[in-house]
Structure formats: structure tokens, C-alpha cells
């Protein structure tokens, strides 16, 4: 005989019949939280933007107040250098970068941009004056540009071709002017 006493079956039935919205909500919340954490971890583990990939879009406001957008630079080779006044290695390559800029400037199809990373303006201006840097420079406001490029540290230089594709990443300093030319000249064709 299968007959079960009513007192024993009732609590089990009521437990199963419970809709469990609260429990579903808690699980959904936990899953959402884990997803956010996972995305954050993936993002933090990502390396810098890879060579051959489209370079992130950015807008640089120079110390003189000029706004330079990466979309306006399509058709030109862009040399994007991250630096800071407190960065000693940056001083080593400052003159080399300026020399390279002066070498390519008459052509008009190569643009050098300096992004001043986590710096204070008076010191940055003094640095530009000290090394007689004439290409456009501006602060990395909100560290947005360095975050977009997932920059590792200063100095770092990115060379972007005429189509906006990243062609070269330089961690640390460019040792000589010839090293810069060796990267830029093939992009210019002739």
C-alpha cells in the first residue's frame, strides 16, 4: 500500500511548489557580478593593441588648445609618443624624436604627436622648452589615450600608417634617428 500520511507529504509539496523568485534573483545577481569581474579581469590581462590592428581613435588637446583628432589624420603616418617630464628615459629620446620630426616635417605626410602622461603642466612645458620640441604635444586628459592604447609605461611610441593601422610599437626609447627612419620610410613607399 502506497498511502502516505498527509502530514508527511504536505511540507515537501509546498517546498517544491514555491516559485523561488528570490533565489533566482540572487543567482542572477551573483552571475552578473561574476560576469563583470570576469570582463574586468580579461580587460586587465589584455596586452597592448597589437601590430596590424586598427589603432584606437583618440583626440588630443594640445597645450596650446588645438584639438587633434585621429580621424583627421587618415592619409598620414602618425608617430604617437607617450612621455612624461618625470621620465628620465624620455629625456634620452626627446632630441631624437625632435630630429626625426624636423626631418619629416617638410614632406607633410608624417605627423608627430606627443602625449604627456600623468604629468603636471608647468613641468611638462619646461620639458618641451628644454628639449626644444616643436611638434604638437598635449596632456593625456583623464588618461583616456593611454588607456585606449593599453599603454604599459613611458616612454612608448606607436607608429600608425595612412589607413589608421598600427604598424610599430616601441617600448622604451628609440635609440637613434636611424631606427625611427627604418620604421617610417617603408610606410611612405618612396
Amino acid at each position: 500500500m502506497d498511502t502516505q500520511p498527509a502530514e508527511q507529504t504536505r511540507p515537501e509539496v509546498s517546498r517544491r511548489a514555491r516559485p523561488g523568485w528570490g533565489r533566482a534573483l540572487v543567482w542572477a545577481g551573483v552571475l552578473a557580478l561574476l560576469t563583470i569581474l570576469a570582463l574586468g579581469l580579461i580587460r586587465s590581462q589584455q596586452g597592448p593593441v597589437g601590430v596590424g590592428q586598427r589603432a584606437p581613435r583618440f583626440t588630443l588637446t594640445t597645450f596650446e588648445g588645438e584639438r587633434i583628432s585621429s580621424t583627421d589624420l587618415i592619409g598620414k603616418v602618425v608617430v604617437l609618443n607617450f612621455w612624461a617630464s618625470w621620465c628620465k628615459p624620455c629625456e634620452e629620446e626627446a632630441e631624437i624624436l625632435e630630429a626625426a620630426w624636423r626631418y619629416y616635417q617638410p614632406r607633410g605626410d608624417v605627423i608627430f604627436l606627443g602625449v604627456d602622461y600623468v604629468d603636471t603642466e608647468p613641468e611638462a612645458r619646461a620639458y618641451l622648452e628644454k628639449f626644444d620640441i616643436t611638434y604638437p604635444n598635449g596632456p593625456d586628459l583623464g588618461t583616456r589615450i593611454s588607456q585606449a592604447f593599453r599603454m604599459q609605461g613611458v616612454p612608448e611610441t606607436y607608429i600608425i600608417d595612412q589607413q589608421g593601422i598600427l604598424r610599430h610599437m616601441q617600448y622604451g626609447v628609440f635609440p637613434t634617428l636611424e631606427h625611427i627612419k627604418a620604421v617610417i620610410d617603408p610606410l611612405l613607399g618612396s
Binding site: 500520511p5 618625470w86 600623468v118 604629468d119 603636471t120 583623464g142 588618461t143 583616456r144 588607456q147
Partner: protein, 167 residues
């Protein structure tokens, strides 16, 4: 003709005084310019609420890098210009992003930082409540067998008696 003694002393004293003045002036110029009326404590009170992205997890007031020293000087300069703490923090956020703040602003995903801890405490409290309740249930269940076990037995005896009565 010999010059008077006081004139000789003056010729000796003048260059010495001039040299002294030059030394004092050069020392004053070489040392970082301290803004008048702004103490290190005032600077550090704001600096400890900020973090330089270059030196992660080190508050600005104790960070020893040149970048952090420049930031502290900037705070000093802003204070001397009459800026208050909030204005200075907003300036740093505009320049370097939200991540310079020790306490993230309550907006966007940052809300999670403020919501999750109290929610976790509430959830923990609820779990404990359920656990305590479930520990109490077996105790009451021990008293139940009397009725739970006698009930089927009564039923069985009743049916047995019915069957016997039929014979």
C-alpha cells in the same frame, strides 16, 4: 701712501658679503619653492585622498616618486591660489581620471562598490537565519515521531480490526 685701516677692512668685507648673498640666493633658488601659508599637513590631507596611476596602491602623501612630488607641489600651488579640497580633487579627476581618487565616485559601475558589501552582509544574515532555523527543526522533528508514527499504526490497526470484523 697707505690706505686707512678701515678702508682695507671694507675692501675685504664687501666681497665676502657679496659672496654670502650670492650663496644664500642660489640656495633659495635651488630649493623647491614653497608656497607661502600652505603647510605640508594641508597638502598631505588632500594628497592622502589621491593615488597617482604610476605608483598603484600607494597614496600620494607617502609616495616617493618624482611624479608624486610634482603632484604634491601642484596641490600646494592650488591651495595657495585659494582652491578648496573638492576643487582640487575635481581638477585631478579632470586631468587624470576617476582612478586617482581613493574613494570612487558613486556613479556607473562604481555603485557596485557601495552596494555589494551591505547586500553581502544582508545575504549573510539571511543565510545564518536559515541555518539557525534548520538546526532548530530537527529538535522539533524529534517530538513529531509520536504522532507521525502512531498515525499510520492507528490506521493499520483500524483496518486490521475492520478486516477481522468482517470474518
Amino acid at each position: 701712501m697707505n690706505a686707512p685701516r678701515w678702508l682695507k677692512q671694507l675692501f675685504l668685507a664687501l666681497p665676502t658679503a657679496l659672496l654670502g648673498c650670492l650663496l644664500v640666493a642660489s640656495t633659495a633658488l635651488a630649493s623647491p619653492v614653497k608656497q607661502a601659508g600652505v603647510s605640508d599637513d594641508q597638502v598631505n590631507a588632500i594628497a592622502k585622498e589621491l593615488y597617482c596611476p604610476v605608483c598603484e596602491n600607494i597614496p600620494l602623501d607617502v609616495c616617493g616618486t618624482q611624479a608624486c612630488a610634482q603632484w604634491r607641489e601642484l596641490i600646494r600651488e592650488k591651495l595657495s591660489q585659494g582652491w578648496d579640497e573638492e576643487q582640487i580633487k575635481q581638477y585631478f579627476v579632470a586631468q587624470y581620471g576617476d582612478r586617482v581618487l581613493a574613494t570612487p565616485p558613486a556613479r556607473g559601475l562604481n555603485w557596485l562598490v557601495y552596494l555589494i558589501p551591505p547586500l553581502a552582509i544582508l545575504a549573510g544574515g539571511y543565510i545564518l537565519y536559515r541555518a539557525f532555523k534548520s538546526w532548530q527543526e530537527p529538535a522539533s522533528a524529534e517530538q513529531a515521531p509520536v504522532s507521525a508514527q502512531t498515525a499510520p499504526q492507528d490506521e493499520y490497526i483500524k483496518r486490521l480490526e475492520e478486516e477481522l470484523g468482517k470474518r
